[in-house]
Amino acid sequence: MLLLRLWNYIRGYVIIVVKGYFPEKFINICMHRKIFLWDIKRLKNNEIICSLSIKSFRNLRAVAKKTKSRVSIRKKTGLPFVLNRYKHRKAFLIGAVVFIAALYIITSFVWSVEIDGNKNLNTDYLQHKLADMGIKPGTLKFGIDPDLVANRMILDVKGLAWVGITVKGTKVKVSISEGVTPPELVPKNIPCDIIASKDGVIKTVTAKSGQEMVKAGDTVVKGQVLVSGRMLNTEVKDEQPRFVHAIGTVIARTWYEERCPVNIHPVEKERTGQVENNYALLLFGKKIKLFPGKIKFENSDRVEINKSLSIGKDMVLPFGIIIEKYYENRLTVKELDLDIAKKAAADTAYKQIMKQVGDESKIVKAETRFIDDEKGKLTACVTAECNENIGITQEIGGN
């Protein structure tokens, strides 16, 4: 019944009131002439109300005449009448068409590129790389081949293990998984040496295979062979040396040194609570400042809030607003106790060393000295002694 009603609505129908002495006769003749009526209701004073299609309404006049009844239209319903009303409103129609077309055109471009999953790689760098391959705000999304770009990204950018690119609405989602490039290992069947990766004093040498070239207490420089894969035959002098794949651990004492100046008068920032906003419109990737005005704060932190208009989650439109918030800072020069300043400098230096020292090594001893230069400035100098494995494999005859 719903379908029928919908069909009637599309075709259009009129609700009429028929006044006559024999409504039954009217209905019977209508049926005879294939004029179909529905929703017939009896009113008072020989009146009936009924609905019929526009098409059959034209044939109704003859029936009305024959039965001597009067027909009046109560209501016109349906799509044809609605459309007829809008026929004269051309501007409205054109506007509607233009709006739909504009929406379609706008949404067929890429307006947002989202990158997630990167830890060490810079997002800007990745965005730049993607732009080189044709994925940037403002490109047609039909021209993007996600698989091709993903493959090219893996080949072009080092350190990527997997790249997934999905185009959703006007948004391109780039999911990245970074892989750790494995250390270049020399295959087991190829003879190699173990050389020093950095300077140091040897603590222990344990060679499982190969000839030990250094002993505990030796000072080695970077690149020096520690365990040789070249096994010389000590008994028969003329025989060719045997080449093996050297395996072993060489623990050495290494030193790191970092300096950091001691600052007794550090400048501290403090937010005063004063905020000034600058608004800018974002149209098709271009920034238009709304009320360009100078920020009267001498020192401030800038926070950018980017709000872009979007339909749903993925249909990002190229319109947006940027709110730049400036938080005023009050700079205060602090007077620190010398001891505390010294400690802070030493801490920073120590932290810098920690960054350099690998996870596998451990710091055995750390020493802090303070050097006075000619101008009377103090510098903290931290020297740390580590025990670490400095042996790395290198192919014999290779570089």
Binding site: P23, I27, L37, W38, I40, R42
Partner: protein, 110 residues
């Protein structure tokens, strides 16, 4: 066999009737044997009621009377009188009528 007696008494008009009845009987039997729908074979109305709110009369001939509380339909087997309340003709074609309203009774005026 009372019918035979009647024919003898008044042969002319009743014979026609009897022929018609015979024909109808034959058709009914055929419909039964072939399992065909009877309303098609016999040209009788088919009345379907859904509760007391809806009634569909198929194969009617004409609308005789239409009031809010009373509708009379002419069919091949006589007039069907429907008494009820707020009766509305929801849909009507040359063959069937769909009525809606509170139906109280249905009567055959043979």
């Amino acid at each position: 066999m009372p019918k035979n007696k009647n024919t003898k008494k008044n042969p002319k008009p009743k014979k026609n009737n009897e022929e018609k009845a015979l024909k109808k009987n034959f058709r009914e039997k055929m419909a039964e044997i072939l399992e065909l729908p009877k309303e098609v074979m016999l040209d009788v109305p088919k009345i379907t009621m859904i509760g007391y709110r809806n009634i569909i009369v198929e194969n009617y001939k004409a609308l005789v009377e239409y009031e809010n509380g009373r509708i009379k339909l002419n069919t091949s087997i006589g007039i069907i009188k429907i008494i009820g309340n707020a009766l509305v003709i929801k849909a009507i074609t040359s063959e069937d009528v769909l009525l809606e309203g509170e139906i109280d009774s249905l009567e055959f005026l043979k």
